[in-house]
């Protein structure tokens, strides 16, 4: 009996140890649960593929819909109504991308710590302050008010009567989409096949709501317009003024960050390329004089944002760009336009886009046939085409965010327009997952009249971001794009595209084509009503690029009764040049466009836009007209323009010859055709040299400023960030035009004056040493393919990263696969308006977010190799020629 009791005791003890629900991935109960073949990770793996034939029930659908999944996992939806299309897209998004959607929703809501733990607490805190979710809520209210016919007081220019019906339909589509997502979630819960990430993290997704859709929309907007650059530029400006005085400091700032660049390339060309020299000797009255502020506190705020950056920037992890262009029928081989687009976003596993095609009845006699890419979590085609009109986007780099600082009194009130105001408080709680369960952290969000206060290190700024303060109507624009029957319809629809402002290029089957930098831009005015920024006064361009004084007697604020709306944005209609190219470059010069300083914070270097135009012009010279195949070649062009302008300067610096490895490197550079291909060594030398050249040119001044003026020691990574943010064409302009500019002089070498040539030589020799240390003495081992590899990684688990293959292209190439390997063309489309069904597209990865699906990264190799898949527009399910699965969606 005693023996049995002891045996029973030991057995119960072991059983309790095995079954105790300890909230850790590596506890026995978690491991037993995860490895269980029926309820563990395995059913999630199995669910990666759709069955060859199947029926899926979604309660609420109006009619049955047929979905054909093609050989790339792209769904082709054939439905009786747009509402049914939304149901189906919701279900498919949930099936293929649910974890990605849920992670992004938690990111926006500041609720990551709830499922991940304390490591994401700071990011959650920042997101709560920034309030993307508050902006989503305001947008939902806006759509409801517009649908009810109510005027929107902060958008008096918006004629509600024109879009009342659209807003009502969009609200219905949002509801249908969410019902589809939730049907997908329920089905996966029932079958135990929720994505494996949920099981590893030990939580289940909550239902999807229309607010969540708009939250994802806000996340995209934040990625493309949210920035703390006003604060970074303030630190640099403050330092330069402190070191060199107001006049020289301002001049140096404008050389480091030129508002008007001496070497540039405009989207809207001028007859003569203008060169504008800023004269800092004559600063106008309205030029901003930065007040002395707590620079350590500002640095802490920037650090806070920097640390949260990998999570903050699912769209834009570094300064990246996009390309789009449209060539009119006069210059194409078919006589009809061709639209091309490759938006360069953060590349991840899975990717940001989910491709769909749908055919839906919109009346008894009419259907729409739309194909393009959606964001998982949002049920609208964002970039793509219908069978009449197609379009593509690049980021305007719009300035829709300002920071305000104030005078404070001892009672904690801030001064605004001559009175002391109380800060508004909003208590919230952040839940943080711990080993023992969940901890509650109480926080208080503070607001001024301009927005939420970002507070760190004894300083605070109110962040006024359009996406937090105001609702927006881009859902109406996307709805109208899908319905557009010609380019004119499309152009009308762009009026409702408020944020994030995008350079739209578009064309239709009738041969019309054009361009618009669609978006609504803040019109900054003084409280006496005068405009703060003027194209005729370039110094005023600094106003919206630096923090604003919220306590000034004549405070500069956004005039919400008079936005710079799309009708005042740069626009071209059938331009006589025959094509339009945009690559995040500057829209127009200050003598041709009145709002040239208002609409964008900064611009990309001109290299990609210049190269695309060059390629188009060269093709026309050689062949007379361009074809779809030419467009493919241009999208995959890996010629590096800055190399073509700077390498001759390197060779010139060694006109007298060199010896040893330096001469070998020079020989390689001399023989180089400036293409960034994996089997060459010269690209490696150049990309190692360029940042060192920037560093040797600019870093000494910034180190000196930080030591003597700002008073804190700048870290190497901060310094690298500052130096790398210098536009390459600023450096190119200095090198080409001002060999003896003061930036080339090393401030730490007294009695010696360096110039461009000495810095070029020193930086090349240092680059060779660095390369030897990194890759060995044998230069043959320095092939570009060994250093430039794809880094398309899973948000949480490195197990699920895409392969790290050697990549072609580089930052500033048209094929802009960034130096970090984790950003680049997130979607390539070539729309052929001779016959839209013979268009082409590709994404870097695959349709499915399930790492075990055959469509997890089945397009990646093709994308890397510059290949495309057909972008057809079948009108019936039987017309899909490469069906992998046929699903019937029916109402429950």
């Amino acid at each position: 009996m005693k023996k049995e009791l002891v045996g029973l005791g030991i057995s119960i003890f072991i059983a309790v140890a095995l079954l105790a629900p300890i909230p850790s991935l590596y506890s026995p109960s978690s491991l037993l649960g995860l490895s269980n073949p029926y309820t563990g990770v395995w059913p999630s793996i199995y669910s990666g593929s759709y069955p060859a034939h199947g029926t899926i029930i979604i309660p609420g659908m109006e009619h049955n819909a047929t979905v054909v999944i093609d050989s790339y996992g792209v769904p082709h939806i054939f439905a009786e109504s747009e509402k049914d299309v939304s149901y189906v897209i919701g279900y498919l998004h949930a099936h293929d991308r649910l974890f990605q959607m849920d992670l992004q929703r938690r990111l926006v809501e500041g609720r990551l710590s709830e499922v991940i733990g304390s490591e994401t607490y700071e990011a959650d805190l920042l997101y709560r302050v920034l309030g993307l979710y508050r902006g989503a809520n305001i947008t939902l209210e806006l759509l409801q008010n517009v649908a009810a016919g109510q005027l929107i007081n902060y958008y008096p220019q918006l004629d509600v009567s024109l879009v009342k019906d659209d807003a009502g339909k969009i609200l219905q589509l949002l509801d249908a989409y969410c019902a589809g997502v939730n049907a997908g979630i329920e089905s996966m819960k029932k079958s135990g096949s929720l994505p494996v990430e949920f099981k590893l993290l030990g939580y289940q997704p909550e239902p999807w709501t229309p607010l969540n859709v708009l939250e994802i929309d806000r996340l995209i907007s934040w990625g493309l317009t949210g920035t703390f650059d006003d604060l970074s530029l303030y630190l640099i400006y403050q330092g330069l003024i402190g070191k060199y005085g107001m006049q020289n400091g301002t001049q140096y700032l404008l050389e480091y960050f030129p508002i008007d660049r001496e070497i540039d390339h405009y989207i809207i060309p001028k007859g003569v390329n203008p060169i504008y020299v800023v004269n800092p000797a004559d600063p106008p009255e309205s030029s901003p004089t930065p007040a002395a502020m707590n620079v350590n506190g500002i640095n802490e705020i920037i650090e806070w944002a920097r640390k949260a950056k990998p999570l903050l920037d699912p769209i834009k992890q570094s300064f990246i760009g996009s390309n789009n262009w449209v060539v009119g029928g006069n210059l194409t081989d078919t006589g009809k336009p061709i639209v091309c687009n490759d938006p360069h976003l953060s590349l991840s596993a899975p990717g940001v886009w989910y491709e769909i095609q749908y055919v839906a009845k919109i009346s008894a006699s009419e259907t729409i046939n739309v194909r393009g890419v959606t964001f998982p979590g949002v049920g609208f085609v964002v970039i793509g085409s219908n069978t009449y009109v197609g379009w593509g986007f690049t980021n305007v780099m719009a300035d829709q965010m300002d920071f305000y600082y104030y005078n404070w009194n001892s009672a904690g009130q801030y001064s605004y327009k001559g009175t002391w105001r109380d800060v508004t408080h909003k208590p919230e709680e952040i839940l943080v997952k711990t080993d023992g369960g969940v901890e509650k952290h109480s926080i208080t969000l503070n607001f001024t009249v301009h927005g939420p206060l970002i507070e760190r290190g004894g300083i605070s700024f109110a962040a006024e971001w359009m996406g937090e303060r105001y609702g927006s109507t881009e859902a109406i624009a996307l709805y109208r794009y899908a319905h557009a029957k010609n380019a004119n319809d499309f152009l009308k629809g762009t009026y409702y595209f408020q944020m994030p402002p995008q350079n739209h290029v578009f064309a239709d089957i009738y041969g019309n084509f054009g361009y618009r930098a669609a978006g609504w831009y803040p019109n900054r005015t003084y409280s006496d009503g005068t405009m703060a920024i003027s194209a005729t006064n370039p110094m005023t361009a600094l106003i919206n690029r630096l923090p604003l004084n919220g306590s000034a007697s004549n405070v500069i604020e956004w005039n919400t009764s008079d936005w710079i709306d799309p009708n005042e944005a740069p626009t071209l209609w059938n331009p006589s040049r025959g094509f339009v190219v945009t690559a995040n470059n500057r829209h127009a010069s200050n003598d041709t466009y009145a709002y040239c300083y208002d609409i964008a914070w900064g611009y990309a270097d001109y290299y990609r836009a210049y190269r695309i135009e060059y390629d188009i012009n060269q093709t026309i010279i050689a062949k007379g007209r361009v074809s779809v195949d030419d467009m493919k070649n241009i999208q995959n062009d890996v010629f590096l323009v800055p190399a073509s302008t700077l390498v001759p300067k390197i060779l010139q610096a060694y006109a007298g010859g060199a010896s040893g490895d330096t001469q070998t490197a020079l020989n390689l550079l001399d023989a180089w055709n400036y293409t960034m291909v994996p089997d060459l060594v010269a690209p490696t030398i150049f990309v190692e040299w360029l940042p060192i050249f920037k560093n040797m040119t600019f870093a000494d001044e910034f180190i000196s400023i930080n030591q003597t003026v700002l008073g804190f020691i700048i870290s190497k990574s901060d310094l690298d960030d500052i130096v790398n943010s210098v536009p390459t064409n600023s450096l190119e302009a200095l090198t080409q035009l001002y060999q003896n500019n003061h930036w080339f002089d090393n401030v730490f070498t007294s009695g010696k004056k360096e110039n461009a040539t000495t810095i070029i030589r020193a930086s090349l020799e240092k680059a060779i040493q660095v390369l030897k240390t990194k890759y060995g003495d044998d230069m043959a081992q320095w092939e570009f393919g060994n250093i430039h590899k794809l880094q398309l990684n899973h948000q949480l688990l490195s197990w699920f990263d895409y392969p790290h293959w050697s990549a072609w292209g580089y930052s500033d190439c048209v094929n802009n696969i960034a130096s970090t390997g984790n950003s680049g063309p997130s979607w390539r489309e070539i729309l052929n308006f001779n016959y839209i069904g013979q268009s082409f597209c590709i994404i870097p990865g695959g349709q499915s977010g399930n790492p075990f699906s055959p469509h997890y990264y089945d397009q990646l190799r093709m994308w890397l190799d510059g290949q495309y898949k057909p972008m057809s527009f079948p009108t019936t399910s039987g017309a899909v020629t490469d069906a992998e699965s046929v699903l019937m969606f029916v109402s429950g």
């Binding site: 029973l8 057995s11 079954l19 990770v41």
Partner: protein
């Protein structure tokens, strides 16, 4: 089941089948913790301790492997899954065997204690 005042006991082959079938059915409920019951059954009806823990271990193992065999028939990349989750698979398999043995032990010792308790009063009665 009961013959007189003692429960009917099974030898290894039939008990293994009972354990395997019950573990498989209980897994289908999607609450994997219910498989504990299959282990208890193995212990309760085992002829001896060795039979109990062998039936628990092998019954559980076989039930889990059956599901993997089903999964292997499906057209997807289970090979990759196994390479990624080999740790879960290996540790899970060992823990499953341990769970089967432990539950069978609990069943076996519990029933022995009950049986002994039932047996004791009858001896007292006989002394009277």
């Amino acid at each position: 089941m009961f013959r007189g005042d003692r429960m009917e006991k099974f030898t290894f082959p039939p008990l293994l089948i009972i354990t395997f079938v019950s573990a498989t059915i209980l897994q289908l409920t999607t609450i994997w913790q219910l498989t504990v019951i299959a282990g208890l059954i193995a212990g309760i009806f085992a002829k001896d301790f060795k039979t109990a823990i062998l039936c628990g271990a092998i019954g559980f193992l076989a039930s889990w492997l059956l599901f993997f065999l089903v999964l292997f028939q499906l057209p997807n990349s289970l090979a990759i899954a196994f390479s990624v989750f080999s740790m879960f698979f290996g540790i899970g398999l060992i823990l499953t065997i341990v769970l089967g043995m432990t539950c069978a032990s609990i069943g076996y010792f519990s029933i022995r204690i009950l049986e002994e308790k039932r047996a004791k009063p009858s001896r007292t009665e006989s002394k009277r």
